[in-house]
């Protein structure tokens, strides 16, 4: 039994490609107007929620937008395949959703302590995901990902016309843009932590097993 199923591996790399392109092109788009607002409208000359400490840089939102929407299709398609397969193969209930014992405070304290003290041998030796990993993956898959997608769709004028509830759930098109920014920032933070942990626990082995499948210790033992 491989450590990572085939669909998980394929969608992992498709999504890695899509998300990288989304982040790069998202920054290119943001640079044209690095100001965030709340509510329905917002513009220079009116009040802002946050003035990001980066300069206005014009001329990159054309290719940025083309790439952003192409990459979004890649991530949405691989995300949909991952969700369907994750439900069908019970990958979510088995590997991702934290169990009740995972969430006991003693266990959480221990796992958080292991991470804070970077006890690499402890973290890297386990076959199944620990409580902190499960909580993180579950929030990215079931919360942050859907929020990024829906808030992005909400500031499309065409979709705001066809599905006004999309805008309503975020409290306005500029609010949706602001939430899109913070949800995307959460994805970036997740990726930094993800790559850090993969590097600390054996970059080559882990990347190889996400490509070729790898071997689970349980399968070897049984």
């Amino acid at each position: 039994m491989p450590r990572h199923g085939l669909v998980v591996r394929i969608t992992h790399w498709l999504n890695a490609l899509g998300t990288t392109a989304l982040i790069v092109s998202g920054i290119a788009i943001l640079l044209a107007h690095p100001r965030l607002y709340w509510g329905e409208t917002g513009a220079v000359g009116g009040p802002s929620l946050i003035d990001l400490p980066i300069p206005f840089v014009f001329g990159h939102s054309g290719w940025g937008r083309y790439l952003h929407f192409l990459a979004a299709w890649v991530s949405v398609a691989s995300g949909a395949l991952y969700l369907v397969s994750g439900l069908a193969t019970r990958h979510f209930s088995r590997d991702i959703v934290p169990s009740r014992s995972d969430l006991r405070s003693a266990n959480l304290r221990r796992v958080i302590g292991d991470h804070l003290r970077l006890r690499v041998s402890e973290l890297g030796s386990r076959d199944s995901y620990n409580a902190l990993q499960r909580l993180t993956y579950a929030s990215v898959v079931f919360l942050v990902g859907p929020v990024v997608l829906l808030s992005g769709l909400a500031f499309s004028p065409m979709l705001a016309s066809g599905s006004p509830w999309l805008v309503g759930m975020f409290g306005g098109q500029q609010s949706a843009r602001t939430i899109h920014f913070f949800a995307a920032a959460a994805v970036v933070l997740f990726l930094l932590a993800h790559i850090l942990m993969v590097s600390l626990t054996g970059f080559t082995t882990r990347v190889r097993s996400m490509i070729l499948g790898g071997r689970s210790h349980i399968a070897e033992g049984s």
Binding site: P2, L6, V7, I10, I29, L30, A32, H33, R35, E40, T41, G42, A43, V44, G45, G46, F58, S61, G62, W63, R65, Y66, L67, F69, L70, A71, A72, W73, A77, L81, F155, S156, P157, M158, L159, A160, S161, G162, S163, P164, V167, Q173, Q174, R177, G213
Partner: protein, 253 residues
Amino acid sequence: MTRTMSRRTLIATGLSAAVGASGVGAALHLAGRNGLIPPDHHGLFGVGETLTYAAQRLVAGDLSLAREFTRSDISKVIPVNGPPPETGAYLRVLDNEFRDWRLTVDGLVARPRTFSLADLRGYPSHTQITHQACEEGWSFIAEWTGVRLSHVLDLIGVDPRARHVVFFPFDDFWESIDMADALHPQTFLAYGMNGSDLPLEHGAPLRLRVARQLGYKSIKYLARMTVTDSITRFGKGLGGANPEWGYSWWAGI
């Protein structure tokens, strides 16, 4: 064991790739048959554009309406992007307060003609308070008054072969929309804004308003519009100045 696994893996990988590729292929084929291919459909970015244009048309539908707001929602700050045209032709019509200005309408129509501002003001007027967003990220709400484009198209008699309406302003920002948007009840030729005549910096005497697309579609300073069955005949064939400068033709997102 390892050999069967890898063979199974290989078959599954091949199958997923085939299903994925034929899915995209089938979607693009379907889009083509239903006129859901944008003019800038070339290359890798064109695949994404075609999927986006076709999906938005199908999901939002031709008849969905942009949200309308109340007078109290009208924005106090309405930024202006770029100065009015400085061409001789524009300065001449500006000189006598647009009395000699005419909108030329031609192409695949039964009765090509020109319209004066007084002609357009004589038709049933409509007012809408809608949201307009710039692709850069800022936005505002304003009240627009004008005549529906569909009313003008009815007057001149559009040929059934028509696929796009192309708009030429006094500056270089020419644009085009498909017939679904041209006939949409919120697509306007606007001569008024927030209760007065359309201000100079917002496109006087007449601008286009396409409520379900980003601001760059709603071009200012209109001079001529033409109805066509083939968008590739104009400019570089991409449907507007924006796609020629690297911005997508479809501005619904």
